[in-house]
Symmetry: C2
Subunit: 271 residues, 2 copies
């Protein structure tokens, strides 16, 4: 048994979709979450800047005594994972491998779509991971730069004409390829699940990267005997680089529960 | 005559619309531009974070021997201007007062619209400045959080169905009030001039905040005898907090000219 908390971070709020799944799957675990809301979004920035920010995010989390770190961010997982693993001894999990495993397990036709931020698609990380498992896979990828701004603006509901138009535009070429599985390669995207699913049709399986990362961290901890007592009530602490009040106010949209009074601001540029 | 450069900054690329006008109006002036592309956009962040970032932006510019600083950013001008003026002895110009002057001069009916980022509209700064000049003005304001992401994604052209739909949604209530003048309260928005003008109709006068700030700085320098020799060719240097290559690649969209080899990266968080 390992009673230390798990660290989780994201460029902003999106990683909370992974935390929500971790709370469900690992109710006894303590979680320390950092959201870089003062510098979100990462997905349009250069690889160099993403790596610099990710290093600071990890350095902040390392100020706690953690048993593992989950990168609950598609952009960081695809762009900075290797550097972070090389520079840190603590086990680090990203969203890419768990999502690739799930996609390969679910596809019947081998036709798999991947959507993500510009940096994520530029990295080619999801493709490499999927092709390593299923060399015959036929992949279609699409960068979707406006989806994070739409989610951050709370425009996630069915019937929002702008969101539906943007989703249709990005997904039309993916749908045209006849994929049977679509990797939502950014942890913001599960909030758009309804709109995406309506457009792609119910026959297309959507891979929620946050959910798969949560499942993979549960499996890893179980395997290493690193779980906490599942009967206890895990504690969660949240840190953000912009206003704690703003973070708390929006977090319920992602988490499905209220976290007022449990958020603190952190000066991430000092790490 | 004052041969020192003028400093200009923005959260990202938008301020280049002001630089473009400054080059036209003040061809002999040297300009040092800083775009905080590593932390753009500012408009959705808390006032506290905007002030913190703006202080660093000014501190970086103050590392040069400048004769004036132009805040070519609606969000900073509306949210941090007072703090920056209080803390710095150098003359600092924002976009609010010049835009308010222009709007009041142009309106015939007194019905004026103001659009900007969330932080800009929340601040109420344009309204205060306009009402101080024209207490009978009837103002309609509207926060347009998706316009900066659309411009940063290069989706500025007529016929872009998403951009046209978003502009229509934001401007419908402004148009319904029958405004005859619309303040484009963010220096990114002049790139959307065609789409905005098509929707509002040619009878509505659009106030370009970057252009007005450029005009105001020309007037201020002339008044103080602070102009450089207008016959010389001014030099411009550009700094960005994300990749210099990415900045140079996009800058021509805003500036109308190529600036490769004249951009350097700066570690803004160290200021």
């Amino acid at each position: 048994m390992d009673t230390r908390p798990i660290g989780v971070f994201d460029s902003g709020m999106g990683g909370l979709t992974a935390v929500r799944q971790m709370i469900r799957l690992l109710p006894g675990e303590d979680i320390v979450y950092f959201g870089d809301t003062g510098r979100v979004p990462y997905g349009g920035r250069s690889a160099e800047t993403i790596v610099r920010y990710a290093r600071q995010d990890v350095a902040f989390l390392q100020s706690f005594d953690l048993k593992a770190i989950v990168i609950a961010c598609g952009t960081v997982s695809t762009t900075a994972m290797d550097v972070l693993k090389r520079e840190n001894a603590i086990p680090i999990l990203g969203v890419v491998q768990p999502a690739a495993n799930a996609a390969v397990k679910r596809t019947k036709t081998g036709k798999i779509g991947v959507i993500g931020t510009k940096a994520t698609i530029r990295s080619g990380a999801y493709e490499s991971a999927i092709l390593a498992l299923l060399p015959a896979a036929k992949l279609t990828t699409k960068a979707c730069p406006l989806l994070v701004p739409l989610v951050e603006d709370g425009r996630v509901r069915r019937g929002d004409p702008v969101t539906e138009r943007v989703v249709e535009e990005y997904l039309a070429p993916v749908k045209a390829q006849g994929v049977d599985t679509l990797v939502l390669g950014c942890t913001h995207y599960p909030l758009l699940r309804d709109v995406i699913s309506d457009y792609m049709g119910s026959a297309v399986s959507l891979v929620d990267t946050g959910e798969e990362a949560a499942r993979a961290s549960a499996a890893l901890l179980a395997e290493q005997g690193g779980l906490n007592d599942p009967a206890r009530a895990g504690e969660r602490r949240y840190y953000a680089s912009d206003s704690a009040e703003d973070f708390a106010a929006t977090a319920s949209l992602y988490l499905g529960s209220d976290i007022s009074n449990r958020v603190e601001r952190v000066a991430i540029e000092t790490y």
